[in-house]
């Protein structure tokens, strides 16, 4: 997420957004892409990511008046809302394993039938999805925030309202599990 606006850095945008629509729009446009991408990286699926992104920003509108903090905290707050919305989606659909299975099978079939140069990437994506979905939602969140959103451990800890040390150890466990799954499929991913 960009931090190129001085006014935003001092929190003025956030203060003014609930009462000034033009400021709200500025804030929204600043963060829309990041929230959407985070949702795609968590869900591995665009259409649901759009729905969840809508849900996240509607919640922001509802609660922006009571939010207190600077821009960094605001960004982390967005990730927190998005994380809950995604986890909630997984829980509510109660079809997580079914969706996963269907999506992975579809992707694997596509990869198997695709002889061009993209097949390795497609296969990797399908495997990554399978591996990530095998993790607990909390670990999925940590992996996504760390490797796709490039957050520091301190920032992830803030999003998860946890300690940095806890996040660090959970990241290690998550990576170990991922390695175990991915190493069986890729020779370049070894112990």
């Amino acid at each position: 997420m960009n931090h190129d606006n001085k006014a935003a850095n001092n929190g003025q945008l956030i203060t003014d957004a609930p009462v000034k629509p033009e400021v709200f729009v500025q804030l929204y446009r600043r963060y829309y892409d990041s929230v959407f991408r985070y949702c795609v990286h968590r869900l591995f699926e665009r259409e649901t990511a759009k729905d969840i992104t809508s849900e996240v920003f509607l919640k922001v509108v509802e609660n922006l008046g009571s939010f207190k903090g600077n821009e960094r905290q605001f960004r982390n707050w967005l990730y927190k809302i998005a994380t809950n919305a995604v986890n909630d989606y997984f829980r509510k659909t109660a079809r997580r394993s079914g969706i996963l299975k269907a999506v992975c099978e579809q992707a694997n079939n596509r990869a198997a039938n695709c002889p061009d140069t993209r097949d390795e990437s497609t296969k990797k994506l399908a495997l990554l999805r399978e591996a990530v979905f095998a993790l607990k939602p909390r670990y999925q969140t940590i992996i996504t925030l760390r490797f796709f959103e490039n957050l520091k451990l301190t920032e992830i800890a803030e999003v998860l309202a946890s300690r940095q040390g806890t996040v660090r150890s959970q990241l290690v466990r998550a990576l170990a599990k991922l390695r175990k799954i991915l190493a069986t499929e890729f020779t370049d991913y070894t112990d």
């Binding site: 609930p18 709200f24 509802e62 609660n63 008046g65 990554l128 990241l171 990576l175």
Partner: protein, 388 residues
């Protein structure tokens, strides 16, 4: 960065996600959000903040928050399987009832009932509700689906229909959907015997705030049976509520949640802002009178000469300011009674220039009542002065 991190980073670096934002979606959502923002008028926002800050709804919120804490931190906690089990069981319940007490052995001050997915009923059972005696005898019925509430005054047999407070909706949403309250951390603490049940405790804590909730769950059913909430109120007092008699999937009659005014009740027009300020003022007066009682007990039955004498009891300026007339320096008129006053003697009332529908009046029995008619107030004031 360790080996695992490097390896994983390398692995994902060549993967192409289809994550390019859809600008049509972005623009459409922008319009929707602006519409939602426009529907939130400044007055609504102001009211919401007032409600959240007021001690009255703090209590109501505390009660409801107590409900919601059953479910917070679902994603964040992860501290034990048992807590996850507790959360899962709560999620699966369709109805819920519980009692709120100030202490575990004290009589209940509120009864709450919830029917999934959108009906709430809160019955304020006692006049001894901390900091909010005016709620005694009230029943709040909230239809979150319709965003409406019916408030019944069972003593005066009056009722009002008003918009459901957003905080109620938010809390309810949290209760069902685990969404909003992510700012608590959870930790398993202890085990104890509660009645004939063995319970496991979880401490939920809000960082940087004096706010803590302990949930005791039955080890057998994995459902909460007792919750203790401690928080610091606006005046810096440490408040505590205990949630007991928690029953999941109780049989509840839907008619208890009807927004139709019951027979025998007079429907009154509801002015939200005025009502909130009136209650806040009554709450201030209740606090002043309680402080007087403390003073009296420490001074051989003698009342303070003026309210300034109560400063050493942490009676802050905001308590002495009437929210209905914040610009007035002396928000309340204090009348020092004799050492052994009659209970019905007026000792405190809201200062006013023009009579506007009534004022809150405090009596020597340490209670606060709202008097609507100026003639009645003047009559009682005269009687108080003459010592009748």
């Amino acid at each position: 960065m360790n080996k695992d991190e490097r390896q994983f980073e390398e692995f994902v670096s060549n993967i192409k996600f289809d994550d390019t934002p859809d600008h049509n979606h972005r623009d459409k959502l922008e319009q929707d959000l602006l519409g939602a923002l426009a529907r939130q008028t400044p007055q609504q926002r102001k009211n919401r903040r007032t409600i959240i800050k007021s001690r009255i709804t703090k209590l109501a919120a505390a009660a409801m928050i107590a409900t919601t804490v059953l479910v917070v931190i679902s994603q964040l906690g992860g501290s034990s399987v048992a807590w996850a089990d507790v959360l899962e069981n709560i999620r699966n319940s369709k109805t819920l009832t519980f009692l709120i007490r100030t202490k575990e052995k004290e009589p209940p001050i509120m009864k709450a009932m919830v029917i999934d997915p959108y009906l709430l009923r809160f019955e304020f059972l006692s006049e001894q509700i901390p900091n909010a005696p005016i709620l005694g005898g009230q029943i709040w019925i909230v239809d979150t689906g319709k965003a409406k509430a019916l408030i019944l005054n069972t003593v005066k047999k009056t009722c009002t229909v008003c918009p459901a407070d957003k905080e109620m909706l938010l809390i309810y949403d949290t209760f069902r959907n685990f969404r909003a309250r992510v700012d608590f951390t959870v930790e398993e603490i202890d085990r104890r015997q509660i009645g004939d049940k063995q319970a496991i405790g979880f401490k939920l804590k809000k960082e940087h705030e004096n706010h803590e909730i302990i949930v005791w769950a039955d080890l057998e059913t994995k459902l909460p049976i007792l919750m203790e909430e401690t928080y610091e109120n606006r005046a810096g007092q440490i408040m505590q509520h205990v949630v007991t008699d928690i029953v999941f999937d109780a049989e509840l009659d839907v008619s208890l949640f009807s927004l139709k005014p019951p027979e025998g009740y007079r429907l009154e027009k509801f002015d939200y802002d005025t009502a909130v300020k009136r209650v806040m003022s009554a709450t201030n007066m209740d606090r002043i009178l309680k402080t007087c009682r403390k003073y009296v007990s420490e001074h051989g039955g003698r009342w303070p000469d003026d309210l300034q004498e109560l400063a050493k009891y942490s009676l802050t300026k905001d308590i002495l300011t009437n929210p209905r007339q914040p610009s007035r320096e002396a928000g309340y008129v204090y009348l020092k009674p004799p050492a052994s006053p009659l209970d019905s003697r007026i000792v405190l009332y809201e200062a006013y220039d023009i009579w506007n529908g009534g004022i809150n009046v405090g009596f020597a029995n340490y209670h606060v009542h709202f008097i609507k008619e100026e003639s009645e107030f003047k009559k009682r004031l005269k009687e108080s002065s003459s010592g009748k």
